[in-house]
C-alpha cells in the first residue's frame, strides 16, 4: 500500500508541479501511514529520477516509455503500476496534461476522482477541499472509499526540496501499442510578436468587466497616460480584442512587473498563475468578493467606467 504520485516533464525538463505533488503526496502518505512512491514516465527517465529524488520520496518508478507525454501510454503505465502497488491514492497534477490523463486513469481503475484539490483534511474520514463558483466558495468533499484518485491544483503546495534517498526502480512496463491512438507530432510556441509584456515595469491589465471591444480604448488611454504597457485576461484575447501576446496567465505569459493594475478581472486561478509574482497588485472591481482582492495590495471597489476616466485625467 502506497501513495502513488505522478511527476510531469516536457521537452526534457521536469515541470515544477512535480515537486508539489511530492509535498502533497508526502502529506497524504504520512496521514495514511504509508509510503510515497513517485512515478515518472517517458523521456530521460534515469536523469529525471535523480532530479526527482527529493526528501520524502520512498521509491521512484522511472518507466522508459516514449519521449514526450502521451495519454494512452501514461494511462496504461499507471494502470500497470497501480495493479502492482495497490495504492491508496493516485495523486496527479491538475495541469493541462493532468486533465488529459487523470480522468482516464480513474476510469480505468474504477476509482472515484476528485480534481483540482487545494487541501486535504485527514481526520476520521479523508476530506478534500476544493473551490467552486470561480473561487467564491470552498467546499469539502468526504471520501468514503479506501482508494481514490485526486488531482491537485498547481501552486498550492510548496515544492519539495532537499536531497532524498529514494530507491529508484526502472520497471519494464509493456505498452499495448494497439491501444495507443494518439501521436504527438510537435510543439508550437504562440503569442510572439512586437510586445513582450513580461518586460514591462508597469502593466495595466483589462478583463471581461470592460464589456465591449470599443471600451478597451479607455484602458489604452490610461496605459498611455501612465507610460505603462497594456495586457489582459484571457476572455479579451479569446474575443480577438487584443492579440495573444497580451494575455497574462497559465496559458499566456507569466509577468512580474513592479505594478500590476487589474481592471475588471476576477482573479481566476489560471489568471493568477501569471501575475501573482508582481510586486504591487492593484485591483479595480465592482465585486468586493472577487478573488483578485485576496492578492491585491490596493483596491478600489467601484465601477471601472467611473474610476478609470478620473484616473486617466490625473495623468494627462
Amino acid at each position: 500500500m502506497t501513495v502513488l504520485a505522478l511527476a510531469e516533464h516536457r521537452r526534457g525538463n521536469i515541470r515544477p508541479v512535480s515537486y508539489e505533488t511530492v509535498t502533497a503526496g508526502r502529506g497524504l502518505a504520512d496521514a495514511l501511514d504509508t509510503e510515497l512512491h513517485l512515478a515518472v514516465i517517458g523521456g530521460e527517465v534515469s536523469e529525471f529520477a535523480e532530479d526527482l529524488n527529493r526528501d520524502g520520496v520512498d521509491t521512484i518508478h522511472a518507466v522508459a516509455a516514449g519521449e514526450e507525454f502521451n495519454h494512452d501510454i501514461y494511462t496504461q503505465v499507471i494502470e500497470s503500476l497501480a495493479t502492482d502497488l495497490d495504492p491508496r491514492v493516485v495523486l496527479m497534477p491538475n495541469s493541462v496534461n493532468g486533465l488529459d490523463y487523470a480522468p482516464a486513469v480513474a476510469s480505468r481503475l474504477s476509482l472515484p476522482l476528485i480534481t483540482d484539490v487545494v487541501g486535504f483534511d485527514a481526520g476520521d474520514t479523508m476530506t478534500a477541499i476544493r473551490e467552486m463558483y470561480g473561487s467564491k466558495v470552498e467546499t469539502t468533499i468526504e471520501i468514503d472509499a479506501d482508494r481514490f484518485c485526486v488531482t491537485i491544483r498547481p501552486n498550492e503546495w510548496p515544492a519539495a526540496e532537499g536531497a532524498g534517498d529514494a530507491e529508484i526502480e526502472e520497471p519494464d512496463v509493456e505498452v499495448d501499442e494497439s491501444r495507443v491512438g494518439s501521436t504527438v507530432t510537435g510543439f508550437e510556441e504562440v503569442g510572439g510578436g512586437d510586445v513582450d509584456i513580461s518586460d514591462a515595469d508597469v502593466l495595466v491589465s483589462v478583463g471581461r468587466g470592460i464589456e465591449e471591444e470599443e471600451n478597451i480604448e479607455l484602458i489604452e488611454e490610461l496605459a498611455d497616460a501612465l507610460g505603462a504597457t497594456l495586457s489582459s485576461s484571457r476572455p479579451i484575447v479569446d474575443a480577438g480584442w487584443l492579440p495573444k501576446n497580451r494575455q497574462v496567465g497559465q496559458s499566456g505569459k507569466v509577468v512580474t512587473p513592479d505594478i500590476y493594475l487589474a481592471i475588471g478581472i476576477s482573479g481566476a486561478v489560471q489568471h493568477v498563475a501569471g501575475m501573482k509574482g508582481a510586486d504591487t497588485i492593484v485591483a479595480i472591481n465592482t465585486d468586493p468578493n472577487a478573488p483578485i482582492f485576496d492578492l491585491a495590495d490596493y483596491g478600489i471597489v467601484d465601477d471601472l467606467f467611473e474610476v478609470v476616466p478620473e484616473l486617466t485625467a490625473q495623468f494627462s
Partner: protein, 266 residues
C-alpha cells in the same frame, strides 16, 4: 456523421451572495444561469463542422433540471439540430453527481446515439471538475484529447489533427484517431450570436426528455463514495488597502500612490 455536444447550464454567483440555509449551495436568489462558456465554444465547433460538410447532424445532451431547457434552446438557436435532456426524480435527489456518474449517464446516451465525434467543454465554470470528457472517452472506448484549441477533422483518414493548449504559450500538436472525444478550450472559434430566425426555429426543435430508466440505468448510477459535506465562504486572505469615497476620490488616492511610487517617470 453525427456530432454529440455535451452542454451544461452553469450558475454564477452574484456579487453579494448568501449561502442557502440548510442546503449545500448558494441561495438560488443569488445565482444566475447561463450556458457554460466552454460549451459555447464546443457548440460552435460542432455547428461549424456541420456547415462545412454534408450530412452532419449535431445533437446536444445535457444532464439537468427543467430550468436548463432555456439554456439548451440557445444551443438549438445557434444551429444544433436537436437535444436530449436527462433528468428524473433520482437525479433531482442527488446532491452531488460525481464524474463517474456523469460519464455513465453520457455513456448510455452515446450508446443510443452512436456519434462519431463527441465535443465537451474543458470545464464547467461552476464546479470546474475538468474531467467529464476524458472520463467519458475511457468509458466508451473512444480516443480523446483535452484542452483542444484547434481542430482539423480529416474524416477521410479517420484522424482529428488537434492542438492542445499547454501552459506558458506552448501548444502540443497531436493526431488522434476517430471516434474521439475532444474537450474544447475557449478561443478555438468565435461563437455566433443566435439569429432571430435561429431563435424562432429553435422553438420547434426537439428536446427529448430522458430518465435514467429510459437509458437502462437506475439509482445505482448516481451512488458515489464522494459526498459534498460543506460549502462556506473562505476566510478572506485580503489585506488590501481599499481606497474609499466617490470614484473621483478613489482615483485621486490611487493617483497619489502611483505618484509616490514614481510610476509616471518610469
Amino acid at each position: 456523421m453525427k456530432v454529440l455536444v455535451t452542454v451544461k447550464e452553469v450558475a454564477e454567483a452574484a456579487d453579494d451572495f448568501e449561502l442557502a440555509e440548510g442546503a449545500l449551495d448558494i441561495d438560488e436568489r443569488y445565482l444566475e444561469y447561463d450556458l457554460n462558456e466552454w460549451d459555447e465554444y464546443a457548440v460552435e465547433e460542432g455547428v461549424e463542422i456541420a456547415e462545412e460538410s454534408e450530412d452532419v447532424e449535431v445533437v446536444s445532451v445535457t444532464i439537468g433540471p427543467e430550468r436548463s431547457e432555456e439554456t439548451i434552446r440557445m444551443a438549438l438557436a445557434k444551429g444544433v439540430d436537436r437535444a436530449i435532456r436527462v433528468w428524473d426524480d433520482t437525479l433531482e435527489g442527488t446532491a452531488f453527481l460525481d464524474v463517474e456518474a456523469r460519464a455513465s449517464i453520457l455513456e448510455a446516451v452515446v450508446a443510443e446515439e452512436e456519434p462519431d465525434l463527441v465535443l465537451t467543454g474543458v470545464q464547467a465554470a461552476d464546479d470546474g471538475f475538468g474531467a467529464t470528457g476524458v472520463a467519458l472517452a475511457d468509458a466508451i472506448d473512444f480516443e480523446w484529447a483535452a484542452v483542444v484549441n484547434d481542430l482539423d477533422l480529416d474524416t477521410g483518414d479517420g484522424t482529428a489533427h488537434v492542438h492542445r493548449e499547454l501552459e506558458g504559450g506552448v501548444e502540443e500538436l497531436t493526431d488522434v484517431s476517430l471516434p474521439v472525444v475532444l474537450s474544447i478550450q475557449t478561443g478555438i472559434n468565435e461563437p455566433r450570436y443566435a439569429s432571430l430566425r435561429g431563435i424562432r426555429q429553435a422553438q420547434s426543435k426537439e428536446i427529448a426528455p430522458y430518465g435514467l430508466d429510459d437509458l437502462g440505468l437506475d439509482a445505482e448510477t448516481t451512488e458515489s463514495t464522494l459526498s459534498l459535506t460543506s460549502m462556506y465562504e473562505p476566510e478572506t486572505e485580503s489585506d488590501a488597502t481599499v481606497f474609499e469615497g466617490s470614484p473621483e476620490e478613489e482615483a485621486d488616492q490611487l493617483a497619489e500612490l502611483f505618484g509616490e511610487m514614481g510610476v509616471v517617470e518610469g
